[in-house]
């Protein structure tokens, strides 16, 4: 008898509570100059919702109700720092997590040339690829070079001959707009007009990822050079699950870095 009482009461309460709606908070509003920085940069967040807190991490883990509370701009000086932040408040579902990776600007590039992008997505020419500016996630904003060719060839001359260990390609993924990460990146060292293949990096496309910029980091065997060639192969056929299956995907790049 006692038991049934308690169970019934609990059920009734649960029903009453379930009938109320719990709203989710929106993510915090992030402000930063660019994902690419010279010596250091900082990111600030705002979220003017009384009773709420912004919590963040710098170690790549997802923020929880126990993560550090955001109070002032977060200084960043380490290459490949990932800042993750979310909002929390009593009575609300925490927001989705904002993920902001930051990259150092790498070795200075003197010159860069590339196969022509599509006429509609020319950015401000090849310098777009080493201007240290983030392109955001809108492929129409003139900060991205958009390619619909079978391959993209990029020739890079650095300011001086240096030891290099990696090449990074910052690309856009917006699968609904047929924009995918490339399927392959090959890196060549160029000496006296002859090119030597250093590395072949292949990328598996993932299904239904949200629209976002992605960094493709290609590790290289240590090499000293001042000239590189990248041969980038956009995804040749859109996968089975995609509305445009069988067609060629677009490839959008806003920045190339050498480390």
């Amino acid at each position: 008898m006692q038991h049934r009482w308690i169970i019934c009461w609990l059920l009734f309460c649960a029903q009453g509570l379930a009938a109320q709606k719990t709203y989710q908070l929106a993510p915090p509003n992030a402000k930063f100059a660019s994902a690419f920085f010279d010596k250091s940069t900082s990111v600030s967040f705002v979220f003017e919702q009384p009773g709420s807190e912004i919590r963040y991490t710098t170690d790549g883990s997802d923020p929880t109700a126990n993560s550090a509370v955001y109070k002032k701009p977060i200084a960043i000086s380490k290459h490949q720092t990932i800042i993750k932040a979310a909002t929390f408040a009593k009575g609300f579902t925490p927001s989705e997590t904002v993920v902001l990776p930051f990259f150092s600007q790498g070795l200075p590039i003197a010159q860069l040339s590339t196969t022509s992008p599509n006429n509609k997505y020319k950015g401000s020419g090849p310098t777009t690829l080493f201007d240290n500016k983030s392109g955001g996630t809108n492929h129409n904003n003139n900060a991205w070079l958009g390619f619909d060719s079978d391959s993209i060839i990029v020739n890079i001359t650095m300011q001086q001959s240096t030891n290099i260990s990696a090449v990074m390609l910052h690309v856009l993924v917006n699968q609904g707009a047929w924009i995918f990460a490339p399927q392959q990146v090959q890196v060549y060292v160029v000496d006296n007009n002859s090119a030597r293949l250093l590395q072949t990096h292949t990328i598996e496309s993932k299904q239904q990822t949200p629209t976002d910029a992605e960094a493709i980091m290609v590790a290289l065997p240590k090499t000293k050079t001042n000239q590189l060639r990248l041969v980038i192969t956009p995804l040749a056929t859109l996968p089975e699950w995609h509305a445009g299956k069988g067609n060629k995907a677009w490839c959008f790049i806003d920045e190339i870095k050498i480390y």
């Binding site: 019934c8 309460c13 509570l17 709203y23 929106a26 992030a30 919702q49 009575g91 609300f92």
Partner: protein, 345 residues
């Protein structure tokens, strides 16, 4: 046996009510979400509409007005019933309209004691004046008199405002962003606004209203992609800009001393169902954002605004009724009926 059961149950029920009432009270502050700021705070009711979705569906809910009988009129681009007429409690009273596939703008005007409606149809490239019951009184075609249009498809009217003297102002918010002024019979008077680089120009002139809060009537026009409202005299001279940083404001709606507007989305989170509702006082200072950030003026400058609570997806219009309750119609939001917000005294 039966009788025992009955008694047992009623005892249980009584006990449960007492217990759960206190339990709910304890959790009350957690679950009773207050939206907005200052003296413009509201409780949100998502289940206001009692319309039967199988019989009276909606697509995009674009705009809402209240008529002189106190009824709430909704315009949707669902051609099964472009107009749904509700009472304030959400009971559907009437429906009409099957010929407005691009139904977008809805304005009500009291014309010598009679309510009339002005519908902007994006697809038909027309403005249609009707009686409250749906009888067509006048159709305004594309404004070739302006000399700015080659054909009707360049003209995609989004909103109208009617001056006290009956002049009709149409904004071509999805076309060339002109404001076109006609007399009450539909005779072209002038046009202004349009695209360009000067302050008087517009970008996505999505809404317009006549503002009589400061005595002398003037026009407030939305420049949505610029996140701003722009003020003009009734004859089209540019007066000034009300910056709404971060907010894709839809049409301005005047009620009492306040200006209300649905914010389709947050500028920094475009395409992510990041809308809210904003409220400005008589001085055009933002005093409340419903499901949005607390308004913050630093050195007199309004700081960027954004959604804070995911209560709305893409709000497209608000209507404030005679009891100060707010109705929110949404675009591209899963075909939801309008929500109602009741002020917190």
């Amino acid at each position: 046996m039966k009788r025992r059961n009955f008694i047992h149950q009623s005892v249980l029920a009584a006990g449960s009510i007492a217990f759960s009432a206190s339990a709910l009270k304890a959790y009350g502050s957690v679950y009773d979400v207050e939206f907005g700021h200052g003296n413009k705070r509201y409780k949100l009711n998502e289940k206001w509409s009692q319309a039967d979705v199988s019989r009276y569906p909606v697509n995009d809910c674009h705009e809402m007005v209240q008529d002189k009988k106190g009824r709430i009129i909704l315009l949707t681009n669902e051609t099964k019933n472009n107009i749904l007429i509700y009472d304030k409690s959400g009971k559907l009273l009437e429906s009409w309209g099957t010929e407005y596939p691009g139904a977008h703008g809805l304005t009500l005007f009291n014309e010598g004691g009679e309510d009339v409606l002005f519908i902007c149809d994006n697809n038909r490239h027309q403005v249609i004046k009707t009686t409250i019951g749906g009888r067509v009184l006048m159709t305004l075609e594309y404004p070739k008199e302006t000399g700015m249009y080659n054909n009707a498809t360049e003209y995609i009217p989004t909103e109208t405002a009617i001056a006290p003297n009956g002049d009709i102002y149409v904004v071509d918010g999805y076309g060339k962003d002109f404001v076109i002024q006609y007399d009450s019979r539909g005779k072209y008077i002038r046009h202004f606004g349009g695209r360009g680089t000067e302050a008087k120009h517009l970008r996505n002139a999505h809404g317009i209203c006549v503002d009589t809060r400061n005595g002398k009537p003037e026009l407030i026009v939305t420049s949505r992609e610029q996140n701003a409202f722009k003020r003009y005299s009734m004859s089209g001279e540019y007066i000034g800009t009300i910056n709404m940083p971060g907010a894709w404001v839809c049409r301005p709606v005047i009620k009492g001393n306040y200006l209300y507007a649905a914010v389709l989305q947050t500028h920094s989170r475009q395409g992510q169902q990041s809308g809210f509702v904003t409220v400005l006082n008589k001085d055009n200072t933002v005093v409340s954002n419903i499901a949005g950030s607390q308004p913050n003026y630093t050195n007199g400058q309004l700081q960027e605004m954004y959604q804070t609570i995911k209560a709305f997806s893409y709000p497209h219009d608000v209507c404030i009724d005679d009891e100060e309750c707010m109705y929110v119609a949404q675009w591209n939001s899963g075909k939801v009926y309008p929500y109602k917000l009741e002020p917190i005294a």
